[in-house]
């Protein structure tokens, strides 16, 4: 690195005059911070993670951090929302597409399992670390669970089977969440996609009974 007067002068220039528009700088800082909070929290745990850790990983200054987020929790929750939004968007694409409900459900499940298996750190952050943030966890879990159940229902057209249990859709979302959560906690996120047949079966039983669920799972 040279210490030419030109470089120093440029260094002191206010933001927005070094070629990158201010919003773009902030956006990339925000993205770096969000990526950093996922990585650090997944390896150290939420409680032991400090804002300093996040800054170090992201290569962003403390002032910039606090311009973007109130605190560690706000940063974590922003990252969490971004990830869940991404997952929901990918699931919507296949689940709300054309075709029979059981087939779309199976494809949506496959996309979900692939998403969580793609990066174990992200999976751990999204599912496990969120439970350790304290009281803030509850409204978020509730909202995301409700969102998942609503999406599940949105894809149930007239051709979809009518379950005999009142809360069958909550049960189905619960099955997906419980299975993925367990695999992630046990460090087996990478192997999630191979659970597709079993999980399809378990999900379908309350809707179509054991025989038809078995047939659909092996399709």
């Amino acid at each position: 690195m040279s210490d030419s007067p030109e470089d120093l002068r440029r260094w002191r220039l206010p933001r927005g005059r070094h070629g990158l528009p201010r919003e773009l700088v902030e956006r990339s800082q925000r993205e770096r911070l969000l990526a950093a909070v996922v990585k650090v929290t997944a390896s150290k745990g939420y409680e032991s993670t400090t804002v300093g850790d996040i800054l170090g990983e992201a290569g962003v200054g403390r002032e910039s951090f606090y311009e973007l987020f109130d605190d560690k929790l706000a940063c974590m929750l922003a990252a969490h929302k971004l990830l869940v939004d991404d997952l929901v968007e990918r699931v919507r694409e296949v689940y709300l597409d054309e075709g029979a409900w059981t087939a779309r459900m199976r494809r949506a499940l496959a996309v979900t399992l692939d998403w969580f298996s793609a990066d174990p750190e992200t999976a751990r952050f999204t599912l496990v670390e969120l439970t350790t943030v304290g009281p803030a966890f509850r409204p978020i879990f509730q909202a995301e669970f409700a969102r998942a159940v609503a999406l599940f229902e949105e894809g149930m057209d007239d051709g979809a089977p009518k379950p005999e249990l009142a809360k069958a859709n909550s049960l189905a979302v619960g099955a997906i969440l419980a299975r993925i959560y367990e695999e992630v906690v046990l460090g087996r996120a990478a192997k999630l996609p191979r659970l597709l047949p079993d999980l399809t079966y378990e999900l379908l039983v309350p809707y179509v009974g054991e025989e038809r669920a078995r047939a659909a799972a092996q399709a």
Partner: protein, 228 residues
């Protein structure tokens, strides 16, 4: 004085602690109640020994007579809670009950107990798992063999219709969600689903639906049919 180490969490569930003298037992109970309440209120991570001794109204010295550290105390508390729920579930049904009926009655009692102590329900389904995910294994050991045992004939094996471990996870998610929406006291509303999940693995889908139906009828009338 008996101390618990973290590794003893499973053992403490299976082997009830040797009876201590009444005074010490009361202290131990107060400490356990205190850590459960404090964790429910501010999470395990944020709970300090000071919080625990303050709530239990005992000295630090007394705390350390019973437990090596916060983690050991927490593990003992979780073990104690599991044990209590297990005993309540076992006492809820009679010898002549069919497995389906026995599971429905056991589930009703456990859900009722959790509804009466929302903090405990929250702790068991959330914080305890975050502290040590292996606790899920303890829950399963406390429930699945007991349920399976109701179905197993003289050969000692029950045919599984679906994975009991998954059913367990589903029940946990449903309960957690009910707590998240601030309706922990209304956990019994979930009874039809919980009963379905509890019966389905070994009783099958049809039996699970029937028991689920019975559970929702009892929720409406307030009394389970055929009980008492």
């Amino acid at each position: 004085m008996q101390k618990h180490r973290s590794s003893e969490i499973a053992a403490s569930v299976l082997q009830p602690t040797t009876p201590l003298d009444i005074g010490a037992r009361n202290q131990r109970r107060r400490i356990i109640d205190a850590i459960v309440d404090s964790c429910a209120e501010k999470t395990y991570a944020a709970t300090t020994i000071t919080d625990i001794v303050g709530r239990a109204r005992i000295s630090r010295t007394t705390f350390y007579k019973h437990f090596e550290d916060k983690r050991a105390c927490f593990d003992a508390a979780i073990g104690y809670c599991i044990e209590q729920l297990q005993e309540a579930a076992a006492a809820a049904h009679a010898v002549e009950d069919t497995p389906d009926d026995a599971v429905r009655k056991g589930a009703a009692v456990v859900i009722q107990a959790l509804a009466e102590r929302p903090g405990l329900a929250q702790l068991l389904t959330g914080d305890a798992i975050a502290v040590d995910p292996r606790v899920i294994e303890c829950y399963r050991k406390a429930t699945i063999p007991a349920i399976e045992g109701l179905w197993s004939g003289s050969d000692g094996s029950a045919k599984a219709h679906s994975d009991p471990r998954l059913a367990f996870g589903q029940a946990q998610v449903l309960i957690l969600n009910q707590i998240a929406i601030g309706k922990a006291d209304r956990l019994p509303e979930l009874l039809p689903e919980i009963v379905y999940l509890a019966v389905n693995p070994f009783g099958g889908h049809e039996a699970a639906l029937r028991q689920s139906q019975l559970a929702s009828e009892s929720a409406i009338s307030g009394v389970a049919p055929g009980e008492r």
